[in-house]
């Protein structure tokens, strides 16, 4: 097997007294789509933010494409050019047009010329059918449109892996599918992705492997058919049962 693209080894993370990640081991290979599932507060968002170096870790190591990505002496701005992240709350810049939201980082961080960056952005916007919104401000867009712009903004940096943190949970149900479709397309194009989600049906369909996090530990990791039809751990069974009872699978 080839080298893993993301390699997480024995990662521990504390928020003050709160031991949020308690020795996480996880590998994501190129072109893989790995879904993180687990109850609220189990550390999914924290793990994703650590991989992007938005949060420091206290123990263990994270490597991206063979390069050290955690601890001291890491060029975080350079790391982030390879690792795109999209948040639940979009985090678009409200004072910039959609186009400017997308072109800002390619121009400032990658040093692209304005016309190159604009070309890149318009190609992305056309692909998601939002090129007519290029000059609108984010608050004029629906939640689903904003989230797709946020994904496009991350893609404009041409990252080699995308981290998606519950990108549909702030959306009205009828807007969820347009965002999920975009992720499906990315997966089909071979984008490496690590995503936290509560959409179990989607996780089942799109992922190469599913990772169940429980109280800051990897409780179980397996192919989707396996984890959803015959979960091994009692915690996983209980979690999936509660999900099925809530009608979300």
């Amino acid at each position: 097997m080839t080298e893993p693209f993301i390699e997480i080894k024995q990662v521990h993370k504390w928020f003050g007294e709160n031991h949020v990640l308690q020795g996480i081991d996880l590998e994501v290979h190129e072109h893989e789509v790995v879904c993180l599932i687990g109850p609220s507060g189990c550390g999914k968002s924290t793990l994703l933010r650590c991989i992007n170096a938005l949060e420091p870790i206290q123990e263990g190591s994270i490597r991206v494409d063979g390069e050290q990505a955690s601890g001291r002496g890491v060029d975080v701005n350079w790391l982030r050019q390879d690792v795109g992240i999209v948040f639940q709350s979009y985090n678009l810049f409200p004072h910039m047009t959609v186009l400017r939201n997308i072109t800002l980082a390619p121009i400032k961080a990658l040093g692209l010329s304005k016309s190159e960056a604009t070309d890149r952005a318009m190609t992305l916007l056309k692909r998601i059918g939002l090129d007519n919104k290029a000059n609108d401000y984010p608050d004029r867009l629906s939640g689903g449109q904003q989230q797709r712009v946020a994904i496009a903004r991350a893609l404009a940096m041409r990252p080699r892996v995308m981290l998606l943190d519950e990108i549909t949970s702030a959306l009205d149900p009828e807007l969820v599918h347009e965002v999920l479709n975009m992720v499906r397309e990315l997966a089909a194009d071979g984008m490496t992705m690590l995503l936290a989600t509560h959409e179990m049906g989607f996780a089942k369909e799109v992922s190469s492997r599913v990772c169940f996090l429980y109280q800051g530990k990897v409780e179980e990791i397996a192919e989707p058919q396996e984890i959803f039809s015959s979960p091994k751990s009692a915690h996983t069974q209980r979690f999936l049962k509660s999900i099925i009872e809530a009608g979300r699978l």
């Binding site: 933010r49 992007n52 938005l54 975080v76 701005n77 350079w78 982030r80 050019q81 795109g84 992240i85 948040f87 709350s89 985090n91 678009l92 810049f93 409200p94 004072h95 800002l104 980082a105 400032k108 961080a109 990658l110 608050d139 903004r153 991350a154 940096m157």
Partner: protein
Amino acid sequence: MVPSSTRTAPHFSSNRVKSIIGVFAALGIESLLIYALHQYWSTVGLLDTARAVALGLLIAIGLFGMSGCWYASRALIHAQRADKQWRAGHHQAARIDAEESRTHLASLAGIGLAILIVVFLLLFTSANGGKIRQVFLNGDFLSRSRPALLRGFWLNIKIFVTAQVLVTIWALLVAIVRQLPGRGAAPVRLLAVIYSDVFRGVPAVIVIYAVVLGFPLAGVPPFADMQDKDLQRFWLAVLALVLVYGAYVSEVYRAGIESIHWSQTAGARSLGLSQWQTYRHVIVPQAVRRILPPLLNDFIALQKDTALVSFAGLVDIVGQSNLLKNRFFNLTPVFGAALLFLAVTIPFTRFLDYLIRRDQARTQAG
């Protein structure tokens, strides 16, 4: 188990008693107004133009007062009709009339209050045979002091504009220093805190004394080497005001920067933008929008506080009006100075209110 209803019988009040009181009140206030207008008229000076203007104004005020009586009578008419409708069993129509009556009474109350204030001002300014107006607003002295006042005010404007530009930049630097992360920046962070605490705590006049009078005595470079003493004092005055207002404005900036949700920083940093680029393109532009109202507020205060430089011997508008006051032995020049300040600050404040309202409309809509 549905509990049995405890609703009371329908209540109705036609507002008639209040309307009758309203009519008497309106008549009383109107006669008071006429008395005050008469008092004022008897103290108006002998100049023909002044008399004509005053007469026109007084008649306008008198007519305005009449509208109080009009509202009172409308209130009474509606109240009467409401009573009749209620007795005839037209309950809804009766309530509509009663509501009309109450609306008119409310208008009467507003107008009545305004008239009482006008009455007070009229009687106050015509006290002692109009002497107060003579002392504060003598048309002759006013026109004679205008050139000197304008010359003085020009100095205030120059100090204000220069200081404002410098404050805007200096305060931003202080605010950013206060936000610098890391242990290495701790000493400068502390300095920034001390600076803004000290200069917000000391009265501006004392800072102006210390800088404008003290620096030349102490021979502080580069000011001590300036040949042109007026220019020297100008820059020292600007420096003093920048020190004081930089402390206030840096706090405004800081509040603005802190009001931007951390998710914006996360969004920007996650895209590979550096800390500085995040400030420059994401945080500061959004913060500026939010702090514009408090920022302009501080600038209005700065504009007024340029008057303090007269304490350090600069002949600004206050200095000029002081000279003129002593020459005429009359306070009209001081009043004129106040008018000039108002001519600048009132449009400024109105603009500020407009900005705040527009901002509210926008945030509420979206």
